[in-house]
């Protein structure tokens, strides 16, 4: 079978698996977030937390819960990194330097998992599992909680509350992420991933050289890294590393894990608002964009249109033989379409247009399907903006799922979609404006520009992948990218929760023939159009001077 046709079947098989699984998982998540009952583990946890589980929260209280939890998380992750040499299982690692520790703490709490460090030479086992992997779980659970709160805003009528953050956080963790992770980790170990607490194992190679085989609880962290669309690898090489992604099929499985929850959440959304077809409309928008992006990335990488890939005969620089070009491209698209940022191949060495696709995926706001939770709420914001323009065009005050989109809603949605482009573009401009910051570029010319653009796009969108040639473990980049990650995460969350509050308080408008149908192909196409024109085109000037200039030379 040719590489191309195998690659296409690979994509089809992923789609088939997601189609098969989204339904039970989506329904299950609906029940998790809707039921009034707490299980035994949760009751213990709530008692330890000292929170009242029956107390519904207004959006403000909910948002303060998210922020309080995140601030404490940053402090704890920072503290563990700085003190790791005094803690068990440090495997000889020094304390992490302050700016890298700050950057990493923000990075993991914001679900970005940008790696300014190299895992195998910086982080001890305890830091990996008790600081970083814990955030892999909870930052994902926070994302889902916020998305669910927004969906409740649509579903509820004349309600002052949007749920209870602590309950949503614990349920998302205990009932969704933890069970799948446990099972998934064992699957990955079966595929060859390691799971131990050993330090470095020195061996002598066949030709007499030395090699240090590393150890660690990799599988348990790898699975939630993908499932929670986190992306922070145990190792510097991330999912390209054989201990993180041992076999051809673990690669398939990891992509599947990345897309699993984001593609199931629209169904959960549909169930919660009582209109499955609305969930499927959102899913269709995500699917159209995602499939287009995956196919384009494959086309660009497989055709290898650039000088070095032409010289080498294929775009194999930075790619593993076992994955090949196509499966690497599919992974790259999946990881940037979501907020994952894990990589099984190095985007910096991609063809100009292949690399541009990974950038564009993030620039779209990571909504197709996006990070766990964040993808759904990002897409719903785009739907709200589309509904506003489309709603006017049918001669009504726009409404989505029965909720009127008035000045307040548009203000919140507009601010939401201002945040990331402003962070990306301002950050890139600041970095590009100074020769010493430009000195961090590994590559010259337009590709160097792409590296910096990629860094700020990735951080502000909480992706975490990189055009990794850029040297970012400098104080300026650590701080600037840390700020981008923090603002890129929490400003949108606050705006989304405010929107949830505003929507929940409304009484819904009944649907009629005059109501804009938001589940038909026309509307789906319009959301796609708005996403591409309004969001991606903002970045066209920057793209023109980066990947487009490089690829069209």
């Amino acid at each position: 079978m040719s590489t191309t046709s195998a690659g296409m079947i690979f994509i089809v098989s992923l789609i088939a698996a997601l189609v098969l699984v989204h339904r039970p998982l989506g329904d299950y998540m609906y029940r998790v977030y809707s039921t009034a009952r707490h299980n035994a583990v949760e009751r213990v946890v709530y008692r330890l937390l000292g929170v009242r589980t029956d107390a519904e929260q207004s959006w403000g209280v909910y948002a303060r819960g998210v922020l309080a939890f995140s601030v404490i998380s940053v402090l704890v992750v920072y503290g563990i990194q700085r003190l790791q040499d005094k803690l068990p299982l440090s495997v000889g690692m020094e304390p992490v330097t302050d700016h890298i520790a700050w950057n990493t703490a923000i990075s993991f709490v914001t679900n970005t998992n940008w790696q300014a460090y190299s895992g195998e030479s910086t982080m001890g086992h305890l830091t990996q599992m008790a600081a970083l992997a814990v955030q892999n779980f909870v930052s994902a659970a926070v994302g889902m909680a916020v998305a669910v709160a927004l969906v409740r805003g649509f579903a509820r009528r004349r309600s002052g509350t949007v749920g209870n953050f602590w309950v949503d956080l614990v349920r998302g963790t205990v009932r969704i992420l933890l069970p799948i992770s446990f099972a998934g980790a064992l699957v990955l170990v079966a595929g060859g991933l390691i799971q131990n607490f050993s330090g470095v194992h020195e061996i002598t190679t066949l030709t007499g050289g030395g090699q240090a085989i590393t150890g660690g609880p990799v599988a348990s962290q790898e699975v939630i890294k993908e499932l929670g669309t986190n992306g922070g690898g145990f190792y510097n090489a991330n999912s390209a590393h054989p201990f993180e992604n041992a076999a051809t099929w673990t690669n398939w499985f990891e992509i599947f894990l990345i897309l699993l929850i984001p593609f199931a959440l629209p169904r959960t959304f549909g169930r919660m608002v009582g209109q499955l077809r609305q969930g499927y409309a959102i899913l269709a928008v995500m699917g159209v964009i995602a499939l287009t992006s995956v196919l384009l990335t494959n086309v660009f990488e497989l055709s290898g249109g650039a000088t070095v890939p032409q010289a080498a005969g294929a775009a194999m620089e930075g790619k593993e033989v076992r994955f090949g070009v196509s499966n690497s491209a599919t992974f790259a698209a999946a990881t940037t379409l979501t907020s994952t940022g894990a990589v099984n191949s190095f985007h910096d060495s991609y063809t100009p247009f292949g690399g541009m696709m990974t950038l564009v995926n993030m620039m779209l706001g990571e909504v197709a399907p996006g990070g766990v939770g964040s993808g759904l709420y990002g897409m719903l914001i785009l739907a709200v903006i589309t509904v506003f323009v489309a709603g006017l065009m049918v001669g009504r005050t726009p409404e989505y799922l029965g909720k009127r989109i008035g000045a307040r809603e548009i203000k919140l949605a507009s601010l939401y979609f201002l945040v990331t482009p402003v962070l990306v573009l301002a950050g890139t401009a600041f970095a590009m404006g100074s020769p010493e910051r430009r000195a961090s570029m590994l590559n010259g010319g337009p590709h160097g520009l792409s590296e910096i653009l990629y860094a700020f796009t990735s951080a502000s969108n909480n992706n975490g992948s990189a055009f990794a040639g850029l040297t970012v473990n400098t104080p300026w980049y650590d701080v600037a990218l840390g700020l981008c990650m923090a603002f890129g995460r929490f400003l949108p969350i606050i705006l989304v929760l405010a929107l949830a509050g505003s929507l929940a308080a409304q009484s819904p408008v009944p649907e009629g023939a005059g109501t804009l149908p938001t589940h038909r192909p026309l509307f789906i196409g319009m959301v796609v159009g708005v996403t591409v024109i309004l969001v991606a085109l903002t970045f066209l000037p920057a793209l023109a001077l980066g990947p487009l200039a490089e690829g069209l030379s």
């Binding site: 195998e120 814990v134 060859g192 390691i194």
Partner: protein
């Protein structure tokens, strides 16, 4: 607790939540997973270590260099791909070259400045070296016969083969009527227009994976084509019948899982171990 201001109460709850979840997710979960994994998949969980003569010689999953102390290929072994991990296949420094697809202009070493090879020149140089090692042509598109990137900087009135340090002979004498010069190290050619020259190489015996570094720098595999390219040399060096070597290649090739996942790949360490086995 009820009397505390709400923001403080919330932060206390947050602190407790982080603590409780850290114990649950950061300790209990990895410990239990490790326990189960160690019982069910002991070998995998511990790194798929392979032994030769009772000693650990590596991991089946981690590639290694088959070079001598000077970094020259050991001719009796199949060679791995180029690696960007540390000095090559260093698991404590995994990673890729991260060089871009249009990284084609070298910085030539000159007195006072260190040179920097472009990705294109690396590809060309590797190809040339492998060609020589395997006794085939190492020529590639965009490469000069002397194994650097075939790239011109075009100025009004002249052109410079920018990767060929003088006194090298430029790979072409003239470009669109302009005379082509060799490059003088230290001179700034930035103002010229960059023109990679494809050349007219057709057959390229050295496959792509042989001239590119992997993402992890620890790629345990090479393509079947690269293995087959090396087979005659290994057979010759070891005095084995070529068919036997090809047979071993076949035995250590993993095809696509389920027929469509991934690419066929040859595990170099396994293959070399099999060769060593009497």
């Amino acid at each position: 607790m009820e009397r505390l201001p709400s923001w403080l109460r919330q932060h206390l709850a947050a602190l407790r939540a982080v603590a409780v979840l850290t114990v649950l997710l950061g300790l209990a979960y990895p410990l239990v997973t490790t326990g189960v994994a160690q019982v069910l998949f002991n070998e995998h969980a511990n790194g798929s270590i392979v032994q030769a003569g009772g000693k650990d010689v590596g991991s089946a999953l981690i590639g290694q260099s088959f070079t001598d102390a000077d970094g020259n290929p050991v001719r009796t072994y199949f060679q791995s791909r180029p690696s960007a991990a540390g000095d090559g296949y260093d698991p404590t420094s995994s990673g890729a070259s991260n060089l871009g697809p249009e990284d084609v202009v070298d910085v030539l070493a000159a007195p006072g400045t260190e040179g920097k090879e472009s990705l294109l020149t690396r590809v060309c140089a590797r190809s040339k070296a492998i060609g020589e090692l395997e006794g085939v042509s190492g020529a590639r598109p965009y490469c000069t016969p002397d194994g650097v990137g075939a790239v011109l900087k075009v100025f009004p009135g002249r052109a410079v083969s920018v990767n060929q340090a003088c006194p090298a002979v430029p790979f072409v004498a003239a470009y669109q009527g302009l005379p082509v010069e060799c490059a003088r190290p230290g001179e700034d050619y930035a103002a010229g227009r960059t023109v990679p020259v494809r050349g007219d190489v057709r057959a390229v015996p050295v496959p792509a994976d042989a001239v590119t570094a992997s993402g992890s720098g620890l790629d345990p595999h090479i393509s079947v084509a690269y293995a087959e390219l090396q087979a005659p040399r290994v057979a010759r060096e070891r005095g084995l019948p070529p068919d036997r070597v090809r047979e071993l290649i076949g035995a250590h090739t993993t095809g696509r899982a389920l027929g469509f996942i991934g690419e066929p790949a040859v595990n170099v360490l396994d293959l070399n171990l099999a060769l060593d086995r009497p």
